[in-house]
């Protein structure tokens, strides 16, 4: 220990440890009791202790182990106090601090701390927990994000989300949802839930919200969570596929909007703004996934992204390959989004007539309120030379669109053609 460490250095050290270790420590602290809320309280106390004592005494050699020891002592004290409410001394008194301070010799080293985060992820995405809470629960317990911060990304009041998180944690504890990696018979379906929730965190990062305070980049957090899974399950093809998908889409983030906040479609983005490192990372992950010979939804979506990224080298987008991949995607996940995207790709590759035929396979009744359906119809009608149908479809797409960058883009392209016709 070096006593010369300044306040700021200690604080920076604590924050760094917090970022790297938060989920690891919560997973360990919550594993035995299943009580995530109590684990969070104990860890928060340990961080408070660190901020108080590290500036005075210097940061310990293994901050993570130090925090774990203090938090475990805190949990034990809380349990004792609950068991014996008449015991003298409150939890906040000075004797607690003296007793629970780990000595340098008593602690294990950081690398000895097991990584139980994957078990925590499985608990958060357990099918008995309301699926809308899976993503926020992971962001909070594994990454330490505040409820208000997460709620803002959903345009939701923090108090509402906080209530749901409390309820979910109580259920995990009271219903004894296990902190375990599911066995072989179950792992595929359970892993899907975990991957979906991570994907949910990623989707959140694409929203356009100027005024709400989401200080952390949720795409980075999703990439981080996907890495937690692939580090511990390095042979799960779909986990690798999701990590690749997040990396490849993230690679294009700087290129997706104009200076005025208008959406730019992938095939028109400036490839010089794409992050080549992330593209390489995605490519490597996909190669690893393919070696497992277990194709799935996320791998196919990532491959579509990779073909888009290849335009940086070839100057062209291979729309025929993309259309083919959407056929494959629909076989795994027959969503309306995939069917509409397939029609657009077919149009790009084989012309308006083929594209409109592909779009005709989408159930128009269900698609009526689906904005991408109308945007694609507009694109294909225009390509076919039917500008009045195109204008009507653009109008419908714009009216349905609540995402501002996309809305502005649709308004612009609908106008462009009108202007050039006159």
């Amino acid at each position: 220990m070096s006593p010369s460490v300044t306040d700021n250095q200690a604080k920076a050290r604590a924050e760094h440890v917090a970022r790297a270790a938060y989920g690891r420590l919560i997973a360990i602290l919550a594993k035995r009791s299943g009580d995530i809320a109590a684990a969070e309280d104990a860890l928060a106390d340990a961080f408070a202790q660190a901020l108080e004592t590290w500036p005075k005494n210097g940061a310990p050699d293994s901050p993570e182990a130090w925090l774990l020891t203090v938090a475990k002592n805190r949990q034990r004290d809380v349990a004792k106090s609950a068991a014996n409410k008449t015991a003298a001394g409150s939890l906040d008194d000075e004797s607690f601090k003296m007793n629970s301070m780990p000595t340098d010799t008593a602690k294990p080293h950081g690398q000895d701390i097991p990584d139980e985060r994957l078990k925590l992820l499985f608990a958060c995405a357990h099918p008995a927990i309301d699926s809308t809470v899976h993503t926020p629960l992971m962001l909070q317990t594994v990454l330490g994000l505040e409820a208000n911060e997460i709620a803002s990304a959903y345009l939701m009041p923090g108090a509402t989300l906080a209530q749901r998180l409390v309820r979910a944690k109580r259920k995990i504890k009271d219903a004894r949802i296990p902190f375990e990696i599911p066995d072989q018979s179950e792992i595929k379906s359970r892993l899907d839930g975990v991957l979906e929730a991570i994907y949910g965190a990623y989707s959140l990062s694409w929203q356009d919200a100027e005024n709400v305070d989401v200080t952390r980049d949720l795409a980075k957090e999703a990439l981080y969570l996907s890495t937690v899974v692939t580090d511990m399950l390095p042979e799960e093809a779909e986990a690798l596929g999701l990590a690749a998908l997040v990396a490849l889409s993230m690679a294009r983030r700087q290129a997706r909007l104009t200076a005025k906040g208008v959406h730019i479609p992938t095939d028109q983005q400036n490839t010089a703004l794409w992050d080549k490192m992330l593209i390489r990372r995605g490519e490597t992950l996909l190669t690893r996934a393919a070696a497992q010979k277990a194709p799935g939804r996320f791998q196919i979506e990532a491959t579509i992204q990779l073909i888009h990224c290849d335009r940086a080298n070839s100057g062209l987008t291979d729309w025929a390959a993309i259309a083919q991949l959407y056929n494959g995607l629909i076989a795994f996940a027959p969503t309306m989004g995939a069917a509409v995207a397939r029609a657009a790709a077919v149009g790009h590759a084989f012309g308006a007539k083929a594209g409109l035929n592909a779009l005709a396979t989408v159930d128009a009744g269900h698609a009526n309120a689906f904005q991408p359906y109308w945007a694609t119809a507009a694109y294909l009608h225009r390509m076919a030379g039917d500008e009045s149908s195109a204008q009507a479809a653009y109008r419908k797409a714009i009216d349905l669109c609540t995402d501002l960058p996309t809305r502005k883009w649709l308004e612009r392209i609908a106008q462009d053609k009108v202007a050039s016709l006159h």
Binding site: Y154, G158, A159, T160, Q163, N211, A369, Q371, L404
Partner: protein
């Protein structure tokens, strides 16, 4: 077509909201209003005092009756309104789905019945 969103929710949920949570709530509603404005669809919005502050008046029975409190004593009370101008119900529902209150309450979406250009007798 003008559509009004009636925002109903259980007021007891927010009985003891912290100032921090209140600030965050204002922020997300502010962001929603910004998006409605930027899309050019917002006509008007208001946020109401809680229902115990309501006063209800009627001359229906021939005599004036004033009641302290809301008209209907239900668990879900009207907490605010948005009026937006969009072409159809699909578009109105797309925006209602994005309203922050949809996560903790109910939103009733009603189309305007006012003749085009407003009531002709209103001057």
């Amino acid at each position: 077509m003008k559509y009004t969103f009636f925002l109903y929710n259980d007021e007891s949920q927010f009985a003891d909201v912290s100032p921090e949570d209140m600030a965050q709530s204002l922020q997300v509603f502010g962001e929603y209003i910004r998006q409605l404005n930027e899309a050019g669809v917002l006509v008007h919005t208001d946020w109401l005092q809680p229902s115990p502050t309501a006063t209800t008046i009627t001359l229906k029975g021939g005599t004036k009756q004033i009641q302290d409190g809301p008209y209907a004593d239900t668990k879900e009370q009207l907490g605010g309104t948005f009026v937006i101008d969009v072409p159809d119900l699909d578009a109105a529902l797309a925006w209602a789905e994005k309203c922050p209150s949809v996560h903790y309450g109910l939103i009733e979406v009603r189309a305007s019945a006012m003749p085009e250009g407003g009531n002709p007798h209103a001057g």
